[in-house]
Amino acid sequence: MTDDRRVAVLGVGMHPWGKWGRNFVEYGLVAARDALRDAGIGWEDVQFVSGADTIRNGYPGFVAGATFAQALGWTGARVSSCYAACASGAAAIANARAQILAGLCDVALVVGADTTPKGFFAPVGGERRDDPDWLRFHLLGATNPTYFALYARRRMDCFGATEHDFAAVKVKNARHGLANHNARYRKEVTVDEVLASPVVADPLRLLEICATSDGGAALVLASAEFARRHGAGATVKVSAVSTVTPIFPNTVIEMPNFATDSAVSAAGAERPGFRPSIARAAYEEAGIGPDDVDLAEVYDLSSALELDWYEDIGLCQEGEAEKLLRDGATALGGRVPVNPSGGLSSFGEAIPAQAIAQVCEAVWQLRGQATGRQVEGARVAVTANQGLFGHGSSVVLSR
C-alpha cells in the first residue's frame, strides 16, 4: 500500500477497565472525548461515527454508533453500528477506514464500550433452540473456557507446553500491566500464585483465564490529506485491517460450534487454520512480514492461547512458542514484546472495546508515550484477535 492509502490515527482514548457497574455509554463517551482531545479536533468536525455494538445492554447497545452520537450531541454525522463478537472493534475500524479510503469522509470517530455481567459469559436471554450459542450451554455446559482449555491441552500434548509455561505468560502480562493506568488488574503475581489458583477448566486456572470487564476505547481516524492539513504529518498510520473469515474446511473446533467442518472433500489438501490466516492477511495488505514487527497485542483469552498467537502471527514456527516465551523474547526488553499493555490478563475483556483498545496501545507505543511499558524505538505494531462465529481481526500500525 502506498502512503496515501494509509489512514492516520489522529487520536486515541480509553476509559479505564474495571467492574464499574455503570452504563456503557458513559465509558464510550469518556473514551471518545479523550480521543477527540488527543486528536485536537472538535466533535463537530467528525463526519462519520462507527460504533462497535454490545449485545448485553439492550437496544442502545445494538445501535452503538447512534447511541454515542446522540450522547455527544446530534451533529448530523453519518453513522454505522456493527457487531462481530470479540472482533467488533476491528470491524468498526474497518468501516471507518473504508469510508475514509473511499473519499466519503475525512474524519471518523470509532467507539466501543461495554458493561459486562459477573462470571462466565452466558448466551443472551430467551430460549432459542436454533441458536448454537444457546444450545452449547444447554446441551453441553460448554462455556468459553471449555474451548480455551481444549486448545491448551492440545499444546501440552503436541508441543510439550507445561503448566509452568501457562503460568509464566500470566506472570509476564501482569508485570507489563503494572504501570498501565487503564488496566483493571495492576498487581504482580508469581508462578506459584498462579499455580495455586483453582482449576476452572483443566488445565487452565482462574488466574490464567480472562475476566469480563467494563471499559471503553475510541479512535479518531483521518485521511492522510486531512492529517497533513491538520499539521499532524508524523502521526501513526493504519497500514492494514484484516477482518477475514475462515476458509472451508475449518478443522479446529471453535466457539460456539458442536463440531468442526468435515474435511472429507479436502483430503490431501491441508489448509492453514483460521487463526494463522488472520494476521497473514493483514501483513499482505500492509506489505510487511512478521520480522518487521516490533510489538504485538494479541487476544490472551487464556494464558495458553497467547502461545498459540505467537505462532499464528508468525513470531515463530508452530511448536516453538514455549521456547520464545522461555527465552524472554516476548517480555518487555525482549526481541518482540507481546501484550506490553498487560493484555486481557490485566484488562479483562470488554468485548466491543477490546480490539480498539489493542490499537490504542499500539499507537501509544509507536508514539513513544507508553509510560512504564515502552517498547523502545517501536515502528511497527500488529494486533490480533478472533471473534466467535468466524470473525478475524488484525490491524497493522506503523509510523
Binding site: 444450545l135 471449555t146 500434548d157 482449576v199 476452572v200 463440531a259 468442526t260 472429507v264 472433500s265
Partner: protein, 149 residues
Amino acid sequence: MKTPVPAVEGWFTLDDRRPALLGSRCTSCGTYAFPRASFGCANPRCQGGELEEVELSRRGRVWSYTDARYQPPPPYVAADPYEPFTLAAVELAQERMVVLGQMVPGTTVDDLSIGSEVELVLGTLYEDDDHEYLVWRWRPVDGAGRDGR
C-alpha cells in the same frame, strides 16, 4: 417411570444399545455436518448435491479434553449440588471432523489422553417430573466410565 425424551430433537437416534449422532452428508462432495446442515452443503466448491441424513461413526479418538469445575450458567440445567463433568472433542475418522460432547459421569481428565478411543452412548442431561432429557455422551472404550445407557 419417567419418559425418556431427547434434550434436542433429531440430533441422535434413541437406540438404547447402539445410539448414533445424526448428521448430514452431501451426496455430491461427501461433506458431513453435525448438527445437520440446514442451508445446504458447507463446501463452497461443491456444486450442491442433496443432503442425506446419516448416522455418524459411533467411535472416535480424543482430539482434546477438559472439564467444568465451576457450574456453567443457564440454560445449562445443573444438578444440585453441582457435579463437575468432563468434556471431550472427538475426531471421527470417516467423517474427518471433530465433535464435542460431555464424557459419561465418573470420567475425569485423568482417565483421558489425546488419541484414546471413545464411543457414543446416551445419558440423562436433566429431569423434570415426567421426563428424563437425554443427550449424547462419550464413554472410554475400555469402559472406565459408568452410567452410560
